[in-house]
Amino acid sequence: MAGLHKSDIPNPVLNWIDSRLPIITMMQKEYGVFPTPRNFNYFWNFGALAMVTLIILILTGIFLAMSYQPNTTLAFDSVQHIMRDVNYGWLIRYVHQNGASMFFIVTYIHIFRGMYYGSYKAPRELLWILGVVILLLMMATAFMGYVLPWGQMSYWGATVITNLFSAFPGVGKYIVTLLWGGFSVDQPTLNRFYSLHYLLPFVLVGVVFLHVAALHIVGSNNPLGIEPRGPQDTLPFHPYYTAKDSVGVCVFLIVWAAFVFFAPNMLGDPNNFVEANPLQTPADIVPEWYFLPYYAVLRSVPNKLLGVLMMFGSLLVLLVLPWLDTSRVRSARFRPTYRWLILVWVLSFVVLGICGAHKPEGIWVILSRIAALYYFAHFLVIMPILGKLERPLPLPESITQAVTGRPLESH
């Protein structure tokens, strides 16, 4: 019996299983007693919220796929069939449709938290990079999912975005043909997007698993950005953070439910209630709100290839963020200048989003150029230099000292 894991589980059946496949021991170690810094604020809820969202999206998606028809002549009506004839089809679809927006809201806040508290810095670089991969996969999945209802914005959005690849010299048009499966967005495009929209979420689950696995090797960052010095600085994940995450999940579900039940189409575009028509271009082709900042970066550059490169660059720059930031201090709490500049960066992201919703003319072009300039300068110029110049505030000795060494506030 040398190969058996020595399990402490008293229940004989569970013990038998755990001795052969120690998943119970693993869950106990990773989610039960897992030592977690004691000083998380509610920003640390958002990873769990993203996980909950992903699970709900996959479950609702499986049921939608049972009634959806990936065929250009049937897709639009099959979505209405789900909305009208399938039992609680409207509920499943509205949860899924708004779930995509919720996933992005939650993930954007999760990313902001990582940037504000320096969660990407050593030894968490790979954890961060896996997170950026998750963001890219999410975007691809969301983009292809938006094409499936085969409304006007589905069709024209797909046409505009896939056409971006034609900017690459030489290979561009071959990439576009490959994406389309033909010479325009049509049946083969819809079929392959449907296939990939079903596949990618499971790839996402895989990368999320790696993201969490990497987290459990290096441990969580915390609002002070200093490592725990011992057991007094940490709490077991359960029940402390299971309880705290549950509060966040409940509040989050209220927000999600408010959209689903009372404003299900608020974040959508009226044009997508018109079936796709290749002969009629809508007046404005606008992507979903979560893509608007990148769309604005694209349109702020007069040259198409350069615009496309900038757009992809605005995401890919995140991959090297751990090396662009030269400061030794993680948390922006102790970086008197950076903690304002990171908020300016958020502002530039929001301004880009607003610009992306408007036609690129007049003031919107100027605004989007200023915002795009700051977006990139923040990463490529300010962060490397500021890390050297800035004089950080003194760091606390330990988490416990910071938490208990000062007057307690009521929680």
Binding site: R84, A257, F261, V346
Partner: protein, 265 residues
């Protein structure tokens, strides 16, 4: 677990910025990008507005009458089946009777020819034209859109439809009209192919409601809101229960969290 208050200042600023940004987005997104030739529709009160609002079924039934007697000559609602009319408050016998007054395609007869007959509850509403080309040929090149989803498919929703139906007027002096087009205050570009469909007294309501253009437009917009969103009543009633439950659950969960954390603080 608290650090001094001054350290939280950036967080407070962040939230203030986010609120400001949200307000800015709402303000800036509201008018469409090409605001100059897209008129703002009127802003009416609707039975289905707000969290508790559900479509006024009496109005929607009258609107169904307007649709059947006027709009259906040119406009389809092909997403709808006669059986869906139970959602307007008709009982099964009434739905059966209504369906039987419509002639609908019924597949092929024994000799392979297309067959027609009185509608059954399971049948779809019949489209007035066999296809888009036939519609354009009959309609001087214009294509009357399907109205099943029209409220959701137009910026402004029911206000837009109401605006179009009540927005016919003489073209202002100096405004050049194309042939066979009609001036409308609320149609983008102000030139609409559809002649004014409603005139006072066009339909006769059985419940004694005055049959003014305004009333008929209001009723048919309510009916079309329902065809666009037939689940509205069920959705909002469920939503109120779900939110109340979640608020309660949040309270309980927060109490549990406080209890668990009480030995840490």
């Amino acid at each position: 677990m608290r650090t001094p208050r001054f350290l939280f200042a950036p967080m407070r600023t962040f939230f203030a910025l986010m609120v400001a940004a949200a307000l800015a987005i709402t303000g800036l997104l509201a008018p469409p990008a090409s605001a100059q030739d897209v008129p703002t529709p009127p802003n009416e009160n609707w039975s289905f507005d707000g969290i508790f609002g559900t479509p006024d079924l009496a109005a929607a039934q009258r609107g169904f009458q307007v649709y059947s007697e006027v709009c259906s000559t040119c406009h389809a609602i092909h997403q709808m089946h006669f059986r869906d009319l139970t959602g307007l408050g008709f009982n099964d016998a009434q739905v059966k009777a209504i369906a039987s007054t419509f002639t609908v395609p019924q597949g092929l007869d024994d000799s392979g020819q297309p067959k027609e007959g009185p509608g059954m509850p399971a049948n779809q509403f019949r489209s007035p034209f066999p296809n888009e080309k036939a519609a354009r040929a009959a309609m001087n090149g214009a294509y009357p859109p399907d109205l099943s989803l029209i409220i959701n498919a137009r910026e402004g929703g029911a206000n837009y439809v109401y605006g179009i139906l009540t927005g016919y007027a003489d073209a202002p002096t100096g405004f050049t009209m194309q042939d066979a087009m009609n001036y409308n205050r609320y149609f983008p570009g102000h030139q609409i192919a559809m002649p004014q469909p409603l005139q006072d007294g066009k339909v006769t309501y059985t419940d004694g409601t005055p049959n003014t253009v305004d009333q008929m437009a209001r009723d048919v917009a309510t009916f079309l809101y329902w065809t666009s969103n037939p689940e509205t009543t069920e959705r909002k009633q469920m939503g109120i229960r779900v939110i109340l439950f979640l608020v309660l659950l949040t309270g309980v969960t927060y109490a549990v969290k406080r209890k668990i954390w009480s030995d840490v603080h």
